[in-house]
């Protein structure tokens, strides 16, 4: 064994070679070796460089170790190739590396794709017990679990199970291809190898750069033996004792074209201490979502080192798998829909920035968010219509809290009264908050998201008034129609960057908005009376803002474009498409004030 200078593509990596079972493995290390060891295992067709981005982010806190799997990158290949890539041999390699880099303490395993398939083997066989502290799996199931999954569906083939089988079967086309002799090797060494970087960029949105490395063609050719040496054998006779002996964190990219999410439905049976995460991304998450992966790995490893059971360390709210640890900024978070939305994200374990022009209520929302599950929450006092204040906010947030993963532009004010009664000042006020506030939010935080290049989501609170005309709400409805169209256009623009945009269109929701709505064209006393009256009417309708918040989280998870909430908003939305005349008739009705 020897330590030599940096030769891998990873900055500041210390490299050494580890001999085991007739091969020599190329092992790279980063970070302080006295810290807990995180061992990253790459997949197919990759080399350890697939982890560069993630490794660099983890190196501040951990002793990060990566190695080229035998036959890949700068590790040597077994001779002969056939029979040289069995899971048993791969397990030998893992133990050799683990013993070399962390002889006294178990390591935290992280695997992607075939790296994860292997790691499942490591974490479920007896001889590694005590050597693995935790395992984070992405996009690579245990072949044994997979084998049982198929058997179960074949022996009791209900229509749904057959559907699931066919679904995964279609995603596994490349596995059959790789079982044909010689052809894959030829393809990889020929046209496929040449086109691969472009394919990754175009189909998988993997950013260009120093990846894939120059060893790609031989990696891919050798790696075909991973499939040939293991898949058929394990599918035919899956192990029945493949239980994980360490806590497992499962990260599932929802846009993975190679693996169906259904594969993991019954994983708790095999891995009792399981934490689930899901991420809207394609297969190559180590390249496309390094920030999120590094954050989840850090959390998982740290809680494990602190002796906290994995399951107790994550939030329990709805969609915690998706939003745990994410940074969510909500405007107008001091009341009503915004506050309920902040709480719902907090329960899902998100870190929350509660923005409101009312300082006290923003602070209160932040305080309560921490109580219900947000690991961190901050209140920020900003008027969303104030361009400079918003710019300052965006700078501060990026600097102190990070890049926002989910932005909810929700702050808004009501304005009622006929068009002819509405003064230019009234117009200005409502457009400044309801439209310009959204524009500033999208512009500033959307830009940060796009520049980071790791996806994100923007939610804008429009209203059913965006498509339901009304003679009582001309200015408000106009502002909301603009927000709706802005959202649709922005959605088109940002789709290519993995950033979703949703417009939420609630009907009548019982919040404070009725008590603060300005009624144009009436004196102060009459305005008070109308505010009271509308508040009582909305109170009777009693649709809770919490339900709008649920719809907002769902819209992000499903990346929905336009989401009418409340029955009246949904029917108006339908009518607007099929019977717009009916809506125009409703628009003429006198409101019951």
């Amino acid at each position: 064994m020897s330590t030599e200078a940096t030769t891998t593509g990873i900055k500041n990596a210390r490299e050494r070679r580890v001999r085991t079972g007739g091969v020599e493995l190329c092992v790279a290390e980063l970070g302080d070796a006295t810290q807990p060891t995180v061992l990253l295992v790459h997949g197919y067709p990759d080399s350890k460089e697939v982890w560069t981005e993630v490794a660099e982010r983890l190196a501040d806190r951990f002793h990060v170790v990566l190695y080229d799997v035998r036959g890949h990158g700068r590790s040597t290949a077994p001779q002969p190739l056939r029979g040289g890539f069995t899971l048993e041999k791969l397990t030998d390699d893992f133990l050799a590396v683990a013993d070399a880099v962390s002889p006294d303490k178990p390591v935290h395993l992280v695997g992607h794709d075939w790296g994860s398939v292997q790691a499942w083997e490591f974490v479920t066989v007896k001889r590694t017990e005590g050597r693995i502290a935790s395992f984070t799996s992405m996009s690579g199931p245990s072949l044994d679990h997979f084998g049982h999954w198929i058997k179960k569906r074949m022996t009791r083939p209900t229509p749904r199970k057959v559907g699931q089988l066919l679904g995964q079967g279609a995603k596994s086309w490349y596995v059959y291809m790789l079982h044909t002799p010689v052809l894959p090797e030829l393809a990889w060494r020929g046209p496929l190898g040449k086109q691969w970087p472009k394919i990754l960029q175009r189909m998988e949105k993997v950013p260009a750069g120093d990846y894939p490395t120059s060893s790609l063609r031989s990696d891919a050719a050798h790696g075909a033996w991973l499939y040939r040496d293991n898949v058929r054998a394990r599918m035919r006779r899956p192990r029945t004792d493949a239980y994980a002996h360490a806590p497992v964190q499962l990260i599932t990219p929802s846009g993975d074209i190679f693996l169906s999410e259904r594969l993991y439905d019954e994983l708790e049976l095999w891995a009792p201490d399981l934490v689930r995460r899901s991420i809207p991304a394609k297969h190559w998450v180590p390249r496309t979502r390094p920030d999120q992966l590094a954050a989840w790995i850090t959390d998982f490893v740290t809680t494990n080192e602190d002796g906290i059971p994995a399951k107790d360390s994550v939030a329990t709210g709805k969609h915690a798998d998706r939003f745990g640890g994410q940074l969510v900024l909500v405007t107008g978070a001091g009341s009503g829909i915004g506050r309920a939305t902040a709480f719902a994200f907090a329960e899902a374990g998100a870190r929350v920035v509660a923005v409101d022009r009312d300082a006290e209520s923003a602070a209160r929302t932040a305080e309560m968010s921490r109580l219900v599950g947000a690991p961190e929450a901050w209140g920020e006092t900003v008027d969303v219509s104030d361009e400079q204040a918003m710019e300052k906010l965006a700078e501060k947030v990026a600097e102190e809290y990070g890049i926002v993963d989910v932005l909810v532009n929700n702050a808004g004010i009501g304005l009622s009264g006929s068009f002819l009664d509405t003064s230019p000042e009234d117009w200005k006020k409502v457009l400044d908050v309801n439209l310009w506030g959204v524009i500033h939010g999208c512009r500033l935080f959307g830009k940060q998201m796009a520049e980071r290049g790791q996806g994100g989501h923007i939610v804008n609170t429009a209203s059913a008034a965006a498509y339901q005309p009304s003679k009582a709400l001309p200015a408000y409805s106009t502002s909301k129609a603009a927000v709706l169209m802005l959202s649709e256009c922005l959605r088109a623009e940002l789709a290519g960057q993995g950033i979703g945009v949703s417009a939420i269109c609630p009907g009548f929701v019982n919040t404070n908005i009725t008590a603060t709505t300005h009624f144009a064209g009436v004196d102060a006393e009459e305005e008070k009376r109308r505010q009271k009256k509308t508040s009582r009417l909305y109170g009777l309708r009693n649709y809770p803002p919490e339900k709008v918040a649920d719809a907002i989280l769902r819209a992000v998870v499903r990346n929905q474009a336009v989401v009418p909430v409340t029955p009246e908003a949904r029917s108006a939305h339908l009518i607007s498409r099929f019977m717009p005349r009916a809506l125009r008739a409703i628009a003429r009705l006198e409101p019951p004030l």
Binding site: R339, F343, R364, T365, L371, V372, N512, P544
Partner: protein, 283 residues
């Protein structure tokens, strides 16, 4: 007030105070015995037995017990859901004990909130109830209408980020009047409510209706009047995402011109009040 009247009043109040103290003692005794696995029904029975052993024979209403998200009346649609169930207490769960015994002809109606072990959300709710106790007393002394006070309590809850859960009670009331009850040998109840007490409430409702007031303190028009002299069992109830907390105790309203004398809490030596004082001392 002449001293004779004052004396008579204070004798009356002493009776009410004694039964209220007894009820809170019961709540604390039962709460101390709650363990993981105990059901709401068992907790209700423990309250009943504890008070029966101490001479209680009649009830304004039988004891209730709510555990977990039932403390916030999550998904309550019909009044029958208020009755104790087989829900079991778990570590960290909030609970509420609510009972209204009649003792020597005096009625109490109390609510006690606690939780089994650590629950920061519950602690916060309990602490935030203090502002409601102050607001209620202040506005009653100002002789604001019950409906307005109700709306102000509502607004304070919304500002705090909570939902008003007393709205879930029958008629959405935050308080109701209590009175002396004639002692009878038999004390039948209907749906958990003592018939004697219901009679009292009903007769108040009838008389009140004629004079433009109601023994129920609600958000509706019939509460659009200043507080009537008498004893009111007040029960602000906060809910927050599956956790609820309340207190319930008697507020005395008189027709005195002196604001201090015109309304006061029957007793300030109660578990929740002591808790606030302790927290303040610790801070």
């Amino acid at each position: 007030m002449t001293s004779a009247v004052a004396g008579e009043l204070s004798a009356e109040l002493r009776g009410f105070r004694e039964v209220q103290t007894l009820a809170y003692e019961c709540a604390e005794a039962v709460a101390a015995q709650l363990k993981p696995g105990v059901t709401e029904r068992e907790a209700a029975r423990m309250q009943r037995e504890w008070l029966r052993e101490r001479g209680v024979r009649d009830w304004f209403h039988l004891p209730f017990a709510w555990f977990g998200d039932r403390t916030a009346f999550v998904n309550f649609r019909i009044p029958l859901q208020f009755f104790p169930t087989n829900r079991r207490l778990e570590p960290g769960m909030p609970f509420i004990l609510d009972m209204a015994p009649v003792h020597k002809g005096y009625t109490a109606d109390i609510g006690y909130s606690g939780c089994l072990g650590l629950n920061p959300v519950h602690d916060k709710l309990l602490a935030d109830l203090e502002a409601h106790r102050e607001l209620l007393l202040r506005e009653v002394r100002e002789r604001r209408t019950l409906r307005e006070i109700y709306e102000d309590v509502d607004r304070l809850m919304v500002r705090q980020g909570y939902a008003n859960r007393h709205r879930a009670y029958p008629f959405g009331v935050i308080a109701h009047k209590v009175d002396r009850v004639k002692e009878r040998r038999r004390s039948p109840h209907v749906f958990g409510f003592g018939t004697q007490s219901l009679k009292g409430l009903a007769s108040d409702a009838i008389h009140g209706h004629r004079d433009g007031w109601s023994p129920l303190w609600s958000p509706y028009k019939f509460s659009d009047h200043p507080p009537r002299p008498g004893l009111w069992a007040v029960e602000p109830h906060l809910g927050f995402r599956g956790t609820g907390a309340k207190f319930e105790e008697i507020l005395v309203v008189t027709d005195s011109k002196d604001p201090e004398q015109s309304a006061f809490w029957l007793d300030d030596d109660l578990p929740h009040v002591r808790r606030w004082a302790e927290e303040r001392a610790a801070a």
